[in-house]
């Protein structure tokens, strides 16, 4: 199964430069070939003990974050908000 590197890169929001593309393609295909052994697996229902999620009580807890601490790591923060170039929805 060959990997469509362009489409995958697009979905992953990554750009693979032309000079890297054939190397990436080769490596990805080798890895996928290694994974092809899975195709023969029979999916009979393996029942392992099911662990259920512990649900949280609907009680407010104090957050460790303030607007300032949010801003501290932000690449661009103005008027209390993160900033990006104009995004058309």
């Amino acid at each position: 199964m060959t990997v469509d590197v362009d489409r995958i890169a697009q979905l992953s929001k990554l750009e693979i430069l032309p000079e890297q593309k054939s190397r990436f393609e080769k490596q990805m295909n080798e890895i996928v070939e290694m994974a092809d052994i899975l195709l023969a697996v029979d999916e009979q229902d393996a029942d392992i003990e099911q662990h259920f999620a512990d649900l949280r009580q609907d009680i407010v807890t104090q957050s460790c974050m303030t607007q300032q601490s949010v801003a501290n790591n932000a690449p661009s923060f103005k008027n209390g908000c993160f900033c990006v170039p104009k995004t058309v929805e």
């Binding site: 590197v5 890169a9 992953s12």
Partner: protein, 484 residues
């Protein structure tokens, strides 16, 4: 003997007996780091001032007669994917080069409560993806036994630091062998507990179903001491289980009657003769202690590797989506629109291995391939787990080499991912099944490079596992210290 050469439990005794102060101890480690780290590159961030301040506080408490936990005053290193409030957390990546963690991970809260002292953040493969520590944006980490060789990864900084005496012990993370393999390379004891016993809150996620925080220490006693501190139920982690351990006080080196399963057919793939030799000698040592050796068959090694890589890449591709240049982390310059920010920040911020795994993960989850790869990988993982569970009905412990090789040269294998992935062949089982596993030094190869013996037990059987490791360690003559 230098202070940094002692084991943590020995230092704990010395502190309790007031033979040394924590300030002296921390200073000794700081000096050691300043002396050797330029050769090793184990530390990404150092927080020496803070460490000395913490040491001073601990010393004061001791002077005023307070009864302190064993770990109080002990200098510890933290892998740089665990959140420590106020310190940079880079995950070994350009993407988070300047990210300052705004909160403490659950394990860090526990360390602080018990008085453990953090010396700094340790080097790692980028976002924990790798088995050599060469993918770190901050440069490779080196093996103290031979600094031309890799430390192993992804918790390379942890293993190198503990091995070289730069920290008494360290907290790392293990997703496919990331604590055990570098421990084998650097001659330390690397332990991955049962999935769910240590909270993942504050651990940067790589593969959520496999990630566990674990310990890198000089010996099994230290391992038990540190594990007891960090293990506990945490309501902030939905996968956390309700089990509190007290392994240190119940540690016992009697292996008489212990049933040890050895899956011989797995070693067909091992080409390194020293590894087979040292493994066989270790098995014989166990026999001498009275343990019973039983031949078992695990089967499906290739399947395990494939399942591991498919599941872990899939989860990683999703977990790394949040690094998009918008709210924190690296943002590329002069972006014209939001798509530009996404693509250029991620392309510039991530290294090749990360990109490869993200793309592989995106591929196996994508429409048309999900059923073939991801769903089948989940089924394979269940199969392997069931197989191991049934084996543990016959044996208490499964023993095998930690790694099919010893530390290799820096620069090797960078361009052959499949080859690199195959070195995880012995470690991925424990992550897939969520069982505890530990690597203890069991010899050195012809070149003096350490070799690790890996022991695994069934889920929640940490006491049995640590006892077995302790029994081996007590019977084994040990390996030489690294000469730096």
């Amino acid at each position: 003997m230098e202070l940094f050469e002692y084991k943590a439990f020995e230092l704990a005794q010395m502190l309790t007996d007031k033979q040394i102060s924590s300030s002296e101890l921390v200073s000794a480690f700081i000096n050691r780091i300043n002396t050797v780290d330029k050769k090793l590159n184990a530390f990404i961030t150092k927080c020496f001032d803070d460490a000395l301040e913490q040491a001073r506080i601990i010393d004061q408490k001791r002077v005023s007669g307070a009864n302190l936990p064993l770990i109080a005053g002990i200098p510890i290193g933290i892998k740089d994917n665990i959140s420590v409030k106020g310190l940079k957390m880079t995950c070994g990546s350009k993407m988070l080069e300047n990210y300052v963690a705004p909160y403490d991970a659950a394990v860090i809260e526990k360390l602080r409560q018990s008085g453990g002292i953090m010396l700094g953040k340790l080097n790692m493969d980028e976002f924990a993806m790798g088995s050599s520590n060469q993918t770190s944006y901050f440069g490779a980490c080196r093996d103290p036994y031979d600094t031309s060789k890799v430390s192993g990864g992804s918790s390379g900084g942890c293993a190198a630091a503990v091995s070289a005496g730069e920290a008494a012990c360290a907290l790392g993370s293990d997703t496919g062998g990331s604590i055990r393999q570098p421990s084998a390379f650097c001659g330390t004891v690397g332990f991955k507990p049962t999935y769910g016993t240590v909270s993942r809150y504050g651990l940067t996620a790589f593969a959520s179903s496999f990630d566990q925080i674990g310990t890198v220490c000089k010996c099994v006693k230290d391992t038990a001491m540190l594990f007891d501190v960090i293990s506990d139920k945490d309501h902030r982690d939905s996968t956390s289980v309700d089990k509190k351990y007290n392994c240190y006080n119940s540690l016992c080196s009697d292996a008489y009657g212990l049933k040890i399963g050895v899956p011989r057919e797995l070693f067909e793939s091992v080409s390194h003769p020293d590894i087979i030799d040292s493994f066989n000698r270790s098995v014989n040592l166990f026999k001498d202690t009275g343990a019973q050796i039983i031949d078992i068959s695990i089967e499906n090694t290739k399947l395990a590797l494939a399942a591991y890589y498919v599941i872990s890449s899939a989860e990683a591709s999703s977990n790394l989506g949040r690094f998009d240049g918008v709210r924190f982390g690296y943002r590329a310059k002069d972006c014209k629109d939001i798509n530009d920010i996404f693509i250029r920040s991620r392309t510039q911020g991530f290294g090749d291995e990360c990109k490869r795994r993200i793309m592989l993960g995106t591929f196996v989850l994508s429409a048309g391939f999900y059923d073939d790869y991801y769903k089948k990988a989940l089924a394979a993982a269940k199969m392997i787990t069931k197989r191991l569970d049934s084996l543990f009905e016959q044996v208490d412990i499964i023993a095998l080499p930690t790694s099919p090789e010893t530390a290799f040269a820096v620069g090797d294998k960078l361009d052959d991912p499949v080859k690199m992935y195959q070195s995880d062949v012995f470690t991925v089982f424990a992550n897939i099944a969520g069982i505890p596993a530990i690597s203890v030094p069991c010899g050195v190869d012809k070149n003096g490079l350490p070799i690790g013996l890996q022991l695994m037990s069934k889920r929640f059987d940490e006491q049995v596992l640590l006892n077995a490791a302790y029994a081996f360690e007590s019977a084994f003559e040990g390996i030489p210290k690294p000469r730096l």
